[in-house]
Symmetry: C2
Subunit: 292 residues, 2 copies
């Protein structure tokens, strides 16, 4: 192994478990280096690794984090059963080029007398926020905590969580974080299913039908390319397509919103994103696609 | 003028008005220096300047800020008439040893579509929070914004705003800000009145009676030194003392709370703080004193 310009050894990923140590390390690193943050909840797939690779190009030092954040799960959601694989994750992150893995525990992140929350209000109310009340408050709180402990110059998130990306961009702007957000494209399985740690919940037959969201979104994009701009008409077509692929899917929303502002669109355009959420055999799946 | 170890010229204070410029400057400074932040709302008095002097000793570079923060004023409070003196403030800060004055305007801090807020919940409900709903939400939000833009290693606040200090300590701990808070003692006029920009609202006769809060607090401390530990008894004595000095004072609260947790105390001890708020001739004054 040879030391590179970061004074680090390639493949020599350090794991940091304490917030205090992370803060100290970040303070030290930021004197000489730019820092990129890749926050994850673990159980990593190629989508996460593509974020690490983007981070690798965007800054000198890459800090990946794994923390299954309880405050972004609602009552009755899958916090307890959320899949975990520390050992596998560590190897994947190291191979993808992360320099540090920050992995605090929940007791440290949210001690008993914890009481501070960060909220981005309007953008958190709609879509996912309407079906998962409090979800984005948990996200903006934990991401703020990670921003503060890691002091990144750049942070990388996936486009799959489209609304999350919009909310976090607003958070960064509103709260004056000196951080550039990079939103990386959604990675998909061969049939088009968006990669997600939650796909692990699907049995093999269910897995085949889970492509219904992607197929619905593609239908919207095709129709838009053919000149259809009525959100109502597109919505009907997306619904039909989803239910053709997975007749038992319980669709929570099919929505057309502006890419930057989340404003709902009655007439769609190139900057409109179609996003969908559905329960597929008790697994809640989301996906989205820009029409243009 | 000669350049000192900070590469700055003493007395050569720079004013920064844009958030973006502040962020860039902070990123540059933090590579070589430690940074101390002194947030103020301007109309400076010796109390503020004592914070700058503390900051001067605590870090390489001192960034003072002046921003009359609209979100911490309630409807009907004195936001509009809050006293302002930019020119005087600038001279005072320069002489006290500030290196940078960060002075953004409200349109930049809270543009029309602003929607992100930071809240420290339980600690913000009591005392000032009960009489000024939303006040601490405004404080924790603006202080978070300043923390993010200035990236201080140290931030200095006054003990006069006792509850604010407790709330901000919790904010820093909960949100993992890598910042050390220094709480500087309350500066007082010769008769004991706590220095405050709001004292400027008082006419000369009113000014004399405004010492009532300090006199009440001293009475509590004397009685505690004599062995009285019943909060109810102390409260009665403080009220009596305040009204003897200023018979028209409208007392909002006289409260005995733990110095660290704000837990109300029935039996007081050395770590109990007595805090008072009263309207003195339409001017809202607060003050506090640790009993031990």
């Amino acid at each position: 192994m040879t030391a590179d310009k970061r004074g680090l050894f390639f493949g020599d990923m350090k794991t940091i478990n304490s917030i205090r140590s992370m803060q100290r390390k970040a303070r030290e690193l930021c004197r000489r280096h730019t820092i990129a943050l890749v926050p994850t909840m673990g159980y990593l797939h190629e989508g996460h690794l593509s974020l690490v690779k983007k981070a690798r190009k965007a800054a000198d030092v890459v800090v990946a984090t794994i923390f299954v954040n309880p405050t972004q799960f609602g009552p009755g959601e899958d916090f307890q059963r959320y899949p975990r694989d520390q050992k596998g994750d560590r190897a994947l992150l190291r191979d993808a080029g992360a320099d540090y893995l920050f992995m605090p525990d929940a007791q440290q992140m949210y001690p008993d007398d914890y009481q501070s929350y960060v909220e981005t209000e309007q953008l958190s109310q709609t879509l996912e926020g309407a079906f998962r009340p409090g979800h984005f408050r948990g996200v903006t709180t934990v991401v703020s905590k990670l921003f503060n402990a890691v002091r990144p110059d750049v942070a990388v998130f996936g486009q799959k969580d489209f609304q999350q990306a919009v909310v976090l961009k607003r958070l960064v702007k509103d709260l004056d974080y000196p951080i550039k957000l990079i939103i990386a494209p959604t990675r998909r399985e061969q049939d088009g299913l968006a990669m997600s740690s939650r796909n692990a919940y699907l049995g093999p037959g269910q897995r085949r039908e889970a492509v219904c969201l992607y197929r619905g979104l593609r239908r919207a994009r095709t129709l838009f390319a053919e000149g259809v701009t009525s959100a109502a008409r597109l919505k009907k077509a997306v619904r039909k397509e989803i239910l053709e692929v997975c007749p038992t899917a319980e669709i929570q929303y099919i929505s057309f919103n502006d890419f930057h502002t989340l404003q709902p669109r009655i007439k769609v355009d190139r900057d409109t994103v179609c996003s969908v959420a559905a329960m597929v055999y008790d697994v809640r799946l989301i996906d989205n696609m820009r029409l243009g």
